[in-house]
Amino acid sequence: MSSELATLLRRVKKNPLSLLGLGLISFFILIAILAPALAPVPPNSRDSYLIPQTGYSSDPVRPSREHIFGTTEQQYDMYYGIIWGTRTAFKVGVTVVLTSLAIGIILGGLAGFYGRWIDEALMRFTDIILAFPHIVLAVVIVAVLGPSLKNVMIAIALVSWPSYARLLRGDVLSIKEREFVLAARALGATDFRILFRHVIPNAIYPLLVLASLDIGNIVIYAAALSFLGLGAPMGYADWGQLISLSRNWILGSSGNPFEYWHTVLIPGGTIFLFVLGWNLLGDAFRDILDPRQK
């Protein structure tokens, strides 16, 4: 395990693009940690994730000394939204990855371990969810549960576990035939103990790495649902929500067609850099974990 980790680090160091990815992610982690210092919460605020509003004019205002990223329509401060939105992005990404991992590990573990009809039923179910367009299923789930950021997270977790379940099932299938499992069984260990103490810990490492790299994709899905008006409420620090506020401003004023460029490019660029970071790192990791490449 440690030698694998060493190879991994060597590969990352050799590849400048994955270093760039690592740099981008570290940068965003730093912003998330320092959010209260970078964008102080106004003293009368109920919730630090609510973006302060300066006035009620409907037109966005371009970046200025006072609002370095400008404001959106309804005068929400873009800078505050981007900074605290970083925290939202990590919160959504990490929560969803952990939830869908939990579902994937339990279902994939059970399917691989017990085999036969349990395996058949669980894997057919997995196939259905895997092949169904994720965004469609997520839209349906959010519609039924009601639009909110929490339900967006639930919906994405419910559609993204199948690939983890499938991956774990494959590994469990091979590990359960190994000698140490037989030894545990001979010692009288229960199925539950064998599965969760002996089999899964030996299969989980590549799964954890792959899953953590999905944070970028998850943030895109969450932003898309927020953009479609199914996620965070207006004024909540969330990147997708900030972009949805720009939809009415793709036309500038006469003589200045790009007057409201900042409403799209600032939150859009932020999401792009965030996801790019994860994908650059992910590319290097997937190469290393892919058994065919060895």
């Binding site: 932003a223 479609l228 199914l230 939809r247 793709i250 067609p257 799209v264």
Partner: protein, 341 residues
């Protein structure tokens, strides 16, 4: 071959049953009053809510409720969509052609560009074109489609005033709903040719360009990656070396020998890709205000139009089942070894 398709077809009802079970299971999160909207076709029925709940057994255990609903579904009655202001079945017929046209219009560019770029970057591995395609793939995965769409709109609509959002201009709208225009297929480009109205064709074409570019950029990355890796596997095989040793020209070796085999996974994937594009339009249609299934589904989801949302999901289940069937059939067709299993 026929036996293979029949065997696959036999599985379809099972999958369809699974999907409806999943969807109706989700509805159990709602109150019986909200579920009643599945059966309400007239606002006057709202005052007699309790009667509707009793009639359709909405307080009964899940299997009973599901049975009642499935029976209605099999009768072809999908309920009334509040957002579309028409029955769900009609709404699907009204919106689907637009979505299908957009997906079809984007599918062939994606296929052509994806296969070409994938082949080139495998043949010239680590050269300039390979780096370009890798860059495009990574940015394609990282750029949300709605951001790309909005930026394209800002440039080509806001600045250059060339390519507007929507599906057609006001003039076209007036014409196609008048007696002078017959709707043969519902696909605007096809209908405009059949009606010999070239300016309508041009109008529809202009409106398709931006959404189609957005769909291409987002979807082409996967195809490039698959073509490239499958092509890399083939060009190192013995038969390719034999072909070269015979003295065949490089383009024949690559295009006739290696690529034909490398395309097997690509061909089978293409039908699933088509379903994927149909799913991707959910966001693209909303960005470009394009009146198709996706925009309807999102509106229905925002306004808690339950029959609309369920109809939208059922349509996608059918498409997904069909897409899988086509993928399996194509697979068996291009690779005879599969049929014998």
């Amino acid at each position: 071959m026929l036996a293979f398709i029949l065997r696959r077809l036999a599985l379809l009802p099972l999958v369809a049953l699974g999907v409806t079970l999943l969807l109706f299971g989700l509805l159990q999160f709602l109150t019986p009053e909200m579920r009643a909207s599945l059966y309400i076709k007239d606002p006057r029925q709202l005052s007699a809510m309790e009667a509707v709940i009793q009639k359709y057994k909405l307080r009964d255990p899940f299997p009973v409720q599901y049975g009642v609903w499935l029976k209605q579904l099999l009768g072809g009655d999908l309920g009334y969509s509040e957002t579309a202001k028409m029955p769900v079945g009609e709404a699907v017929r009204a919106f689907f052609p637009a979505t299908f046209e957009l997906a079809l219009f984007s599918f062939f560019p994606i296929l052509t560009i994806g296969i070409w770029l994938g082949t080139q970057s495998a043949v010239k591995k680590d050269k300039f074109i390979d780096q370009v395609s890798r860059f495009m793939a990574i940015t394609g995965y990282s750029l949300p489609s709605f951001v790309l769409g909005l930026v394209l709109l800002m440039i080509f609509y806001g600045h250059l005033k060339l390519l507007p959002p929507g599906r057609f201009s006001l003039e076209t709208d007036l014409l196609i709903h008048s007696e002078n225009f017959r709707q043969y297929t519902g696909l605007l480009l096809a209908d405009s040719i059949l009606n010999r109205k070239l300016w309508v064709f041009w109008d529809g074409f202009k409106h398709l360009i931006l959404p189609s570019i957005t769909l291409c950029y987002i979807n082409v990355a996967l195809l490039v990656r698959i073509t490239r890796s499958s092509m890399l596997e083939e060009i190192n095989k013995d038969y390719v070396r034999t072909a070269r040793a015979k003295g065949l020209s490089e383009s024949v070796v690559i295009n006739k020998h290696a690529r034909k085999n490398a395309l097997i996974p690509v061909i089978t994937l293409s039908s699933l890709l088509f379903v994927g594009i149909l799913g991707g339009v959910v966001i693209t249609e909303t960005v470009f205000n394009y009146p198709g299934i996706g925009r309807w589904g999102v509106n229905a989801a925002q306004q808690l139009d339950i029959p609309g949302v369920i109809g939208f999901a059922l349509l996608y289940s059918c498409l997904f089942v069909l897409g899988n069937l086509v993928a399996d059939t194509l697979y068996a067709y291009v690779d005879p070894r599969i049929r014998l299993k």
